[in-house]
Symmetry: C2
Subunit: 388 residues, 2 copies
Amino acid sequence: MKKHSVLILGGDGFCGWPTALRFSSLGAAVTVLDNGARRSIDAALGTQSLVPIRNLHDRVEEWADVSGRRILHRHVDLAEDYPALAELLRSTHFDTVLHFAEQRSAPYSMLSTGGARYSVDNNIRATHNLLAALVETGSDAHLIHMGSIGVYGYATTDLLLPEGYLKIRAQGADQREIEKEILYPGQPESIYHMTKMLDQHLFAFYAHHYGMRITDLHQGVVWGTQTTETRRAPGLTNRFDHDPVFGTVVNRFMLQAIEGKPLSVYGSGKQTRAFIHIEDMLTCLTLAAETAPARREKVRILNQFSEICSIANLAALVSRVTGAPISHVDNPRQEPAENELDVDRTTYRTLGVKPRRFTDLLGAELADLPGLLGRSDPPCAPDLERSA
Amino acid sequence: MKKHSVLILGGDGFCGWPTALRFSSLGAAVTVLDNGARRSIDAALGTQSLVPIRNLHDRVEEWADVSGRRILHRHVDLAEDYPALAELLRSTHFDTVLHFAEQRSAPYSMLSTGGARYSVDNNIRATHNLLAALVETGSDAHLIHMGSIGVYGYATTDLLLPEGYLKIRAQGADQREIEKEILYPGQPESIYHMTKMLDQHLFAFYAHHYGMRITDLHQGVVWGTQTTETRRAPGLTNRFDHDPVFGTVVNRFMLQAIEGKPLSVYGSGKQTRAFIHIEDMLTCLTLAAETAPARREKVRILNQFSEICSIANLAALVSRVTGAPISHVDNPRQEPAENELDVDRTTYRTLGVKPRRFTDLLGAELADLPGLLGRSDPPCAPDLERSA
C-alpha cells in the first residue's frame, strides 16, 4: 500500500474509520470525507455509541500522535455537495476510492417515510455523484463499494448465491434456448438493501459505458468492534452500536450476555445470515484494493463474509460462552421467518483469506467488552474452549 | 372515466398535457402537477417547441372555455417538495395517479455530467417520493408509470422481449435446475433508460412490501403531435420538439421533409425501435386506467407500442410520401449499430387496441405540420396511397 493514495468516503463510520487507520498504517496516503450523518442520526434517534468515541478531527490528531501518519479529512456531503467532490478528484490523484458513504441500517430505512426517503436520496445520489465525478474528472481510480449480501435477498435462496452474476437459460426469440450471464436478480427485503441493488445497476452501467474499474463487495453482518489500530490509543476507539436500529444482532446478544439478560432471538431464530469479523473485513478490503478489475471489464462482485450462521445458533454460541439464557420474542422486522443460505466466496478463498469464526473470537470480544464500556467485570467469564 | 379522480404528474409535458385533456374529456376529475422542468430545460438549451405553446395556466383556462371542464393545476416539484405532494394526497382522493414527471430524453442524460446527475436525482427522487407519499397517506390509488422499451436495452434482443418478466432456468443450490420468473434483466443504453429501470425495481419493492397497485408502461417512441382534444383550440396545442436532444427521429424526418432537406439517418439505420402514435398512447393509457392489478399482485408491466420499424425503413417511408432524399450521417449516439427487436404486446392486443401505423397516419401528420408551424404549404404533397 506504500505510495498508494486512497480516498475513503464515509471514513468516520463503523467500517470507514478502522479502514482509514488500516490503510494509513500500511503506508497509504489516506484522505477521509464524511458528512457526519451517522452521528447526526444517532442524535436524532436519541442514542449514541455505547463506547465513547472522539470526533473525527480529534481522532485524526490522535492517530497522527500515535503513528506519525497524517490522515487528511474534510466534511463533505457527497449527495449535496458535488462541486466539492469534483474539485477534490480534480486536484488529487487517487489510486483507490473506498465508498462507505451510505445510510447503512435496514431497520432505519423501514422505520418511517423519512428514513426510507433519506436512504434513497442519500445513497443513490452519493453513489451517482461519485460515478459522475470520476468520469468528469477523468479519474482512473479503482472504485470499491461496500454492498451487502442482503442485495440478493433471503426469500430466494434455493439458488447458490453466486458472486454477483447468475448463469441462466431462457427461451430465445426463435424458440431456441439462450444462455446468458446476468446480474443476480435480487429481491432485497429493505429499502436500504434496495439502494445497494440500485447502486449495483449504476455500477454496471458506468463500467460498461465508461470503462471504469469497480469492485462491489457484498458483505455479511460485521461483528467485533476494535481492530489492531483502534486499540492503539483510547482516542481511536471505534463505535459500538447497541440501539435496535443500528446495533446488530451480535452486539445485542453480547451486550445482553454482559448485562446478565436473556438473549432475545427474533421469531424462530431460523433466519440465517452471513457474518464477518471486523479484522477479516480489513483483510478483505486490503486485498480488494491490491487487486482490481481491468478497465472495460464488468464490475467485479465479491461476497465478503467469514461464516454463515442462523440467529438461533449464534444465540446458542453466546449462551454456551456466557451461560446467558435465550428467549424468543416476536420478530419486529419484515423478513422471511427462516431461510437457507449458501453463498459463493471463491474469490477471497483463492486470495488466501482464512476466515475467523465466532468460535475463534467470541470469547475475546466478550472479554474485551466490559473494559470498553468502562465496567470492571463481565458477569460471567467467557470460556469458549471449555463450553464449546 | 366519470367519477374517476386522476392525478397527472408532469401534466404540462408532451405526453402529460394531451393525457390530461383526454381524461378530462372523458369526464374524469383531473389534477395536474408540474414543475415546469421541460420548459426550463428548453430555455437552458436555447431552444423551444417549434409550435408555439401556451403556459400551463393559460392552457387550462382555454380548456375550461372550450370544454366547460376544469383541470386543477399546481406548480410542484416532486423531487424537491415532498410535503406539498403528501399534503395533496392527504387532502384529495385519487383513483389513479399517472406519473410522467421524469426527465425523458436519453441524449440529455448523456450530454453532460449535469444532465446525467439531473436525470438520476430528479427521476429517482420523484418516483420514490411518490411511492413513499402514497404509503404514508394510505392512498389506494392505482399508480401508472410511463416507462420505456429502452429499459430492456437493444444489445440483447436475441430474446423475445416479454412484458416485463422473464422465465429462466438456473442451477439450484443442490445442483438441480430451478425455474424462476424474474424482472427482465435489462441493459439500458442511457442514464435516462437506467433511471426507468431503477424505477421498476422500486415499484417491485413497493408492490411486494406494501401491496400497492402499480402498472409500468414500457412505451416506444411517441410520434404525432396533436390529438382530438389539442386540436379543439389553438391555445391547447401540444409541443413539437425539433432539437437534437428532445426531438425524436420521426420529428426530425418530418421536419426535414417539410423543409426540403435530406432525411438524416444516423449510422446504418438498422437500429430498430418500437413506435406509437400519440392517439394510440391515449387509448392505451385510458385502458390502463380502466383496468388495474389487484393489491398484493406483482407490478403489471405492459409493452405499449404500435409497430416496430428500423430507422432506415422509417426514412424510406417518409421519403416515399414526400420525395425527400435520404442521407446517412455518423451516429452521434452511443447505441448498437443495428439490432433486432421482437416485443410482446399481448395485453393491449387482448384489450382490443388496434394499432395505427406509419402507413395509416404519416400522410395526415405531414399534411398538418406546415399549418401548425404557420407555413402555407408543404414542399411536396403527402400522398401515401399513391407512393406506398
